[in-house]
Amino acid sequence: MLVTQFLILGALLFSIGIYGVLVRRNAVLVLLSIELMLAAVNINLVAFGAFLQDTMLGGQAFALFVITIAAAEVGIGLAIVVLIFRNRSSANVDELDLMRW
């Protein structure tokens, strides 16, 4: 197995995530896309960890933390989304432009 193949896969997922973040209107879907990006990062990390034979297991540890944090983010994100939905009965991020300029 080559490192590159994982990296390319990671890059692909990352970019797809970016696309999702940019085009999706529904906040929940935006969150989903973000998860994709984080997943891509994890693939990179683990692949590198394996490639480097890191005795400190830096890659894996890092990936674990990313997973945990990601979970926390989802919790926070959804909480905010719910709050907003309650206040304006819509979870579309592009309608949030009370403040600009």
Binding site: F14, I34, F51, V66, L96, M99
Partner: protein, 505 residues
């Protein structure tokens, strides 16, 4: 067996965190303010070990002087860390003082608020000491995550919700980008600790490989977001405006400072061997931030939003000393480092002061629109004067502390006056300093030289008292602004600290 002395501040605050939750649960409503007191005490208590660590040499029975390295160099408690931890604790305390009156003015969830604030401060403390990518990342998250929530604390207010979501999304995305960068850097160097990265990067084929460049840039983008540098600044004005003002104050100081700490540690340690990568990068960011921030601030009508843009511009000034790193010698580097640290410290005090006054005034005028503040000095001369004090200090007018920040910043740049890029940067910064004056002065002008608008309930305003904690915060910051302005030497001790750190690994 850990070095508990070195970890004491973090531990104490950790305990304080839990204490606040418990207190919040047990205390009846009328005693809720004790929660704030608990949090305050926790922060103050955390400052004690800082002192014992800093002046260990002078204390009997304290043996472990000097730098303390933990966990294989991934966590370090040195003077630099101590100074900035001190800064974070102080800004935490001040933000807390700002919050108290604000929270009691309406039924917010006080206990949780303090808890989150403390959590965020803890994250900052960790960042100050962390010397590897992983710890830095987690610390950053611990700073941000509570802040996301605090921004939305005014639940009923659509703007607050909006602020929260915008802050959250951009924040998470920037972290994702940063992580991607970290993964690449890790992959290329095989190291997470800064020392390791630095030495590995000096090997040719690694430090100069495009992948490494991309890694560095992506990481720095993550922090550039925290210091709200253009073009990663968009969240800042919206969030400041929408979030509860004390939170905005904390964001513009505490979490921005955290971002700067990250940048400092990364640039001057992890990437100390490749300044030619981040130097130009930050040159661009600094110029863009100063210029865009100032120009947009010119046209703001809402005071908090104006402060938002101003803090973007100030962030630009903070980044300026990094920009010429590639051409510095060791002395120059330490000067630059010193400049950034000094700027952050002074900025913290004057910006918090400004926000404090803004909160107090907004409570009187019941408006955040600048034009509604006309003739403030008629019915609140003291606040008007302090407003002038802080705003002109932000503008860098001697003899207020701001001048010294600007001065060391210019000093760091001119240090390499041979380079046209340095001169250009200096000139741009100078012009920006002048432009900035326009909008700072505009506010002061309104407050002192305009008539009182009819909409403002003057008589009511005169009665509204300034909450004691707020007054205390204002007093402290004002004192600092004046003292530092006349005797900047009080910040001088960071000089040798920076030398040591730059000479470091």
């Amino acid at each position: 067996m850990f070095d508990y002395h070195a970890l004491a501040p973090e531990l104490i605050i950790g305990i304080a965190l839990l204490a606040t939750i418990v207190a919040d649960l047990v205390l009846p409503d009328r005693l809720k303010y004790l929660v704030g007191v608990t949090a305050l005490l926790g922060l103050v208590a955390a400052a004690v070990p800082l002192l014992t660590l800093a002046f260990c040499g002078d204390i009997s029975g304290c043996t472990d002087t000097g730098t303390r390295t933990l966990f294989g160099g991934s966590y370090v408690v040195d003077d630099f860390a101590l100074v900035l931890k001190g800064l974070f604790i102080v800004s935490g305390v001040l933000s807390l003082l700002l919050s108290v009156g604000y929270l009691e003015s309406d039924d917010y969830y006080q206990g949780e608020f303090y808890f989150l604030l403390l959590a965020s401060v803890t994250g900052a403390l960790i960042m100050a000491s962390s010397r590897d990518l992983l710890t830095m990342f987690v610390g950053l998250e611990l700073v941000s995550a509570p802040a996301f929530l605090l921004a939305g604390w005014r639940k009923g207010d659509l703007r607050s919700n909006e602020a929260s979501l915008k802050f959250f999304l951009t924040g998470v995305l920037s972290v994702a980008v940063m992580l991607m960068g970290m993964s690449l850097v890790y992959g290329l160097t095989g190291q997470l600790t800064f020392e390791g990265i630095a030495s590995a990067a000096s090997v040719s084929g690694v430090g100069d490989s495009p992948a490494f460049v991309l890694g560095v840039v992506f990481i720095l983008v993550g922090f550039a977001f925290k210091v709200s540098a253009v073009p990663f600044h968009f969240w800042a004005p919206d969030t400041y405006q929408g979030a509860p003002t004390p939170v905005a104050a904390y964001l513009s100081v505490g979490s921005k400072a955290a971002g700067v700490v990250g940048l400092l540690a990364l640039c001057y340690q992890a990437f100390s061997t490749v300044p030619e990568i981040w130097g130009p990068l930050l040159w661009v960011l600094a110029v863009a931030s100063m210029t865009v921030g100032n120009l947009i601030a010119l046209r703001q009508t809402n005071i908090v939003r104006l402060l938002g843009y101003s803090s973007i511009a100030q962030g630009g000034f903070i980044l300026v000393p990094f920009a010429m790193a590639a051409s510095y010698d060791t002395v120059g580097l330490s000067d630059a480092f010193f400049a950034s640290v000094t700027y952050v410290l002074i900025y913290a005090f004057m910006n918090l002061g400004a926000f404090a006054v803004v909160i107090a005034v907004a409570a009187k005028t019941e408006s955040g629109e600048i034009e509604d503040w006309g003739g403030l000095n008629r019915y609140a001369p003291g606040l008007a004067a302090l407003l002038g004090l802080f705003f002109f200090s932000l503008a860098g007018i001697p003899p207020l502390a701001g001048w010294f920040a600007k001065f060391v910043m210019f000093r760091a740049v001119i240090g390499v006056f041979e380079s046209p890029w340095a001169v250009a940067l200096a000139v741009i910064a100078a012009v920006n300093a002048v432009i900035a004056l326009v909008y700072y002065a505009k506010v002061v002008k309104t407050v002192y030289m305009d008539a009182v608008p009819v909409t403002v309930p003057v008589d009511r305003a005169t009665q509204t008292p300034v909450p004691r904690p707020l007054a205390l915060a204002i007093g402290v910051t004002a004192a600092m602004v004046v003292i530092v302005g006349f005797f900047p030497q009080v910040l001088g001790l960071f000089g040798e600290i920076s030398e040591r750190l730059v000479a470091g690994p």
